[in-house]
């Protein structure tokens, strides 16, 4: 996650010199966008919490405390314990660590591959483009979650299954948005000027078109991480995702569901963590859209 923030900030720096005189730079636009700032603060908070889990977690997420099972909040266990006496606060932090890490890593390959194939298809068109777009149509015909479940089932349950399933399916939206952005950019005057100036197609593509088309993919990647985290948590809930004993928000909700009558917080708290993360990343995405595309 911290890498995502760093890379988007890095992009801001590299684009700064290109800004037209009189238009405020990316940095100051970011500071003046309440949406961006709220999203950045929420996301940074949650990333800091899960990164610092070993420091502020107090207990190991798998340490059992048989003397205090299903205990309420106390000085000993801030948010109480589950049925095995495991500390809920630690499990929340470590669970978030797993889910955010898996959610972020699962988006990296689809992002890179989708942007690459979308750019190539949009610029060159032709048979490759037609073929790739048919594949995109087919993948989008499946209900997203059904395809993910089926793929995780066939390639094997667990983290590597999640990476493969998302790697095979999630690139299509990036490919489609980048393709249409590239097709528009290809016909613009400054691209014609760059081509007419004698620059090679590769250089025009990666140095002139891509920096302008990638913003859409970056903005979408924020909501995509939310979708992927939701799917990872849902897979965990179904027992198809991150496998125990590794803590995960989804399996915490499954475990807590058995105690709805007596200890509702066990199922509610992990959900609140997911919602908080989701709101933070969505705001960040909206804010990025405002900052990167001011008109």
């Amino acid at each position: 996650m911290s890498t995502a923030l760093a890379s988007s900030a890095g992009l801001g720096d590299s684009e700064a010199p290109q800004t037209v005189a009189g238009r405020p730079g990316l940095g100051s636009r970011a500071l003046h966008s309440p949406t961006f700032m709220a999203g950045a603060i929420m996301t940074t908070t949650i990333v800091a919490l899960v990164v610092l889990a070993p420091v502020i977690g107090r207990y190991s997420p798998v340490a059992l405390d048989p003397l205090h099972p299903l205990s309420g909040p106390s000085g000993l266990h801030w948010l109480g314990t589950d049925e095995l006496g495991r500390d809920t606060w630690s499990r929340l932090l470590y669970g978030g660590r797993t889910d955010l890490q898996v959610g972020f890593l699962a988006v990296v390959f689809p992002f890179c591959f989708g942007v690459f194939i979308g750019t190539v298809c949009g610029y060159f068109g032709g048979r490759l483009d037609a073929a790739v777009m048919r594949v995109v149509d087919v993948v989008l015909a499946f209900p997203f979650f059904v395809l993910i479940i089926a793929l995780v089932f066939v390639v094997g349950v667990g983290t590597h299954g999640i990476y493969i399933a998302f790697g095979l399916t999630d690139w299509v939206v990036y490919a489609r948005t980048t393709r249409s952005a590239t097709m528009i950019a290809r016909n613009l005057d400054w691209v014609a000027a760059a081509e007419g100036g004698g620059l090679s197609r590769t250089r025009v593509l990666w140095r002139h078109i891509l920096p302008n088309t990638i913003t859409q993919a970056i903005v979408y990647s924020m909501s995509d991480i939310v979708i992927v985290i939701l799917a990872v948590v849902a897979l965990g809930y179904l027992g198809l995702g991150i496998q125990p004993p590794a803590p995960d928000w989804g399996s915490m909700i499954t475990d807590g569901q058995s105690f709805l009558q007596s200890d509702q917080w066990l199922a509610i708290l992990p959900g609140i963590a997911v919602v908080f993360t989701g709101i933070g990343l969505s705001l960040l995405g909206d804010g990025l859209a405002d900052v990167l595309r001011p008109e």
Partner: protein, 389 residues
């Protein structure tokens, strides 16, 4: 109107005048300012059936009367043509979906038969399953057998139940269909008023409230929302059953209210956002200004003039997002203990019953293709502009 196909459609006005008067003289009449001329950029195929007329130094390409060159040209009405074309367009997707579900088996690492049966299976059992799945045949024969079976309504044979997959799936279909229907209904009922509220009160507190609401929805796992709804409305208030489907029609509807709400929430935030933008566009249109200028009341303008025109984009959006909604019902069926398609799929996964998982995946995709096709046709019926594109 005369259509002129030319290498450039943005011809400079003096050249246009020269060209037009030349063409008029050819037809034996004078150039008149009332004539309407349309310039089109000549496509790469313009050498076919096009007359060339030299005008001064440039050569003009004149297009003949435009003919319907489509293979469907003999179909009389344009709307029928649209329907046929739209149905034909979904066939390649259908073929692709069949290929993908067929390849699922190939993605199982190692020997699929061994993997599915587990480490304690006897070699005889593994061989039997390998034969049942057709793994002892070359891949093209397998694919042909799969397609041939599908064409005859045969989705394969369940490993666990030793019965046709279709007989395992069929009893689950009505429940999932009903759930999707109710969820779609809720999605519309929640989206339209909230988007209208946000659009008519742009940048005001109610707009921001709607925005916070959709932000929360975006990050909320639907199965978790289901658990919360069960805690509030089933465990505490006893308004709805905790799970199950009941036996009578009204019990069915009653037990699908909470699951339907959950499934709807998966797409409501996205729908609200897009519909709000769509409504803002309609609100700026001339006919809305006219309606206001006529002195109509604000609610009448919003709900009669604006909402009616915003209905079409809503339907299109629903079509796009319905796949996501349907995917969400898988988990929701598990939460509410509903024996629909999703639950059947998860049970089959627990039993490692591959043909059932494969069959259900295919049914889901075919369902989505069908729903999108229907929404497209309905939208085209509502909006004649789309048919002409």
């Amino acid at each position: 109107m005369t259509v002129i196909e030319f290498a450039r459609h943005d011809l400079a006005p003096p050249l246009r005048l020269a060209l037009e008067s030349h063409l008029c003289r050819q037809q034996g009449r004078e150039w008149e300012s009332e004539d309407v001329w349309e310039y089109q950029a000549a496509g790469p195929s313009s050498d076919k059936g096009v007359r060339t007329v030299p005008v001064g130094e440039v050569t003009v390409l004149l297009a003949p009367e435009r003919e319907e060159r489509s293979a469907l040209g003999h179909l009389a009405s344009p709307s029928l043509r649209y329907v046929v074309r739209r149905i034909l367009l979904s066939i390649p997707v259908l073929v692709g979906v069949v290929v993908v579900t067929f390849l699922l088996l190939r993605l199982i690492p190692g020997d699929p038969a061994r993997t599915l049966l587990g480490v304690h299976a006897t070699p005889a059992a593994i061989n039997a399953l390998r034969h049942q799945l057709g793994l002892d045949e070359p891949i093209w024969r397998q694919f042909w057998a799969y397609v041939y079976g599908l064409a005859h309504g045969n989705l394969g044979r369940s490993i666990y139940y030793q019965a046709p997959v279709s007989s395992v799936i069929a009893p689950c279909l009505p429940l999932t269909a009903a759930l999707v229907l109710i969820a779609t209904f809720f999605a519309i009922v929640i989206t339209v008023p909230m988007a209208a509220l946000a659009a008519t009160h742009k940048e005001r507190p109610s707009d921001h409230a709607v925005r916070v609401f959709s932000l929360m929805g975006l990050g909320m796992p639907s199965f978790w929302l289901g658990i919360i709804l069960i805690i509030i409305f089933s465990v505490d208030l006893h308004w709805f059953p905790v799970g199950g489907y009941g036996t009578t029609f009204w019990q069915h509807v009653h037990s699908l209210v909470l699951p339907g709400l959950c499934a709807a929430f998966a797409i409501v935030p996205v729908l609200i956002r897009s519909l709000r933008v769509g409504m803002l566009e309609v609100l700026g249109a001339d006919f809305v200004a006219t309606a206001r200028a006529k002195g109509l009341r604000a609610w009448r303008v919003t709900f009669v003039h604006v909402a009616r025109n915003a209905l079409i984009p809503t339907l299109t959006l629903l079509g796009i997002n319905i796949a996501y909604l349907i995917g969400g019902t898988v988990v929701i069926e598990r939460v509410f203990g509903l024996n629909g398609l999703g639950n059947a799929m998860l049970n089959a996964i627990d039993l490692r019953d591959f043909p059932v998982v494969q069959g259900i995946t295919l049914i889901y995709a075919v369902g989505v293709i069908g729903v999108i096709l229907i929404t497209d046709l309905v939208t085209a019926r509502l909006d004649p502009r789309l048919r002409l594109k």
